[in-house]
Symmetry: C2
Subunit: 200 residues, 2 copies
DNA sequence: CGGCTATACCTAGAGGCCCTAGGAAATAAC
DNA sequence: GTTATTTCCTAGGGCCTCTAGGTATAGCCG
């Protein structure tokens, strides 16, 4: 019998495609094996198990998303960079809902694999770089990064879960949310201790 | 053999407890039945199936979370209300990680059940009420509600998934994020068409 | 080119999960 | 006290994960 020529990467990719087409919870050993024209037991040569496969899909998604963002913000600064960053994030999530869902789960995976994956770390670095223009210093910079990541992720997660039932178009709300974030970054408030009226 | 006295509510509660203790993905018919001292087939009298059970847990969580928030913001206004709202949200997610995880998934459940559950709708109403003090009008009000819900959800989701690896304490970042949101709400920007320098 | 080794893929099977069908026992109705 | 209803049960099919061990294919080396 001819070999199928599988690798961990090919198995992961098949899982990612399945996730986008049928939903992340449909990513099973059996389904992925079927899609590859192989028996499920054969996958265990390349992947430790289901958790490992799902973790690899999450890392793949993180890498891909980071790459899209990096391309999108290249050469931009200030609000243009913010909008490009956010749009790239949201578009990736919309184009690859299954892959994106994978990134929402805590990784149950070999830590060495995670350490080698550039995606998550690089994503944070990109966010820091994008914020450079707003003139923030630590620890505000970290706080701002977390605010942005939270809002971007929260918005696309709620959108994907059908959380925006109102008639108002999510796209319009998204544009306004980015306006508001830009406002928050340009008027970044001083810490509580430094504001007037506080008892030191 | 004595009956166990199950009801849909008791089954849902057992599932919610299991979700918090062992993780939402451990919520299975078998495990819940075991916890109730009953065979798994017995649960199908009270609950349609696994998706139904998980959906009920999600609705329970939404109701509980809404209740906590309502208590927290009672009698408050302005930034105090914003902070109380946000803290109640985050504390609920921290206290009930499994239940909270349930709310992140799209509901595959009988729509009639959803219609009867007060939680989700009431949560949006509370958010609108809390924002009244900022003087926004539609459609900005809806956009602001979505911004807040996105950021709150995104923050606690990232926090739960271990997304904040940096040494900076998430609590401190949370406080600053709320400061920033307050700033954004008080300086809510005019829509793009109305800003200077735009054509038209 | 023929044999050796490593390994990709297989079959077989145990155990867990979801869910249905139909039976038995406890409660409720009269 | 009898009947009707509902709860919980046993039995079983189908799909899932994962392991053990066998077979065949590919690469390597003489």
């Amino acid at each position: 019998m001819a070999r199928a020529g599988l690798t961990a990467a090919r198995v992961t990719l098949a899982g990612a495609e399945l996730a986008d087409e049928a939903g992340f919870d449909q990513v099973t050993m059996s389904q992925v094996a079927r899609r590859l024209g192989v028996k499920d037991a054969s996958l265990y040569t390349h992947v430790r198990g289901l958790d490992d496969l799902r973790g690899r899909i999450a890392l793949l998604a993180a890498d891909e998303k980071t790459l899209r963002i990096a391309e999108a913000i290249a050469g931009l600064a200030g609000k243009d960079a913010l909008v490009a960053f956010a749009d790239a994030w949201r578009e990736y999530a919309a184009a690859h809902p299954g892959r994106y869902m994978a990134t929402q789960l805590p990784l149950k995976i070999d830590p060495a694999l995670v350490a080698n994956a550039p995606g998550p770390r690089r994503a944070v670095e990109l966010t820091y770089g994008m914020l450079r223009g707003y003139g923030l210093a630590e620890p505000d910079l970290t706080d701002a990064v977390r605010l942005l990541r939270s809002t971007f992720h929260g918005f696309v997660a709620l959108e994907a879960a059908g959380g925006f039932a109102h008639e108002r178009s999510p796209q319009d709300s998204w544009v306004r949310a980015l306006d508001a974030l830009h406002t928050a970054l340009t008027h970044w408030p001083a810490p509580r201790e430094a504001r007037e009226g506080d008892p030191t």
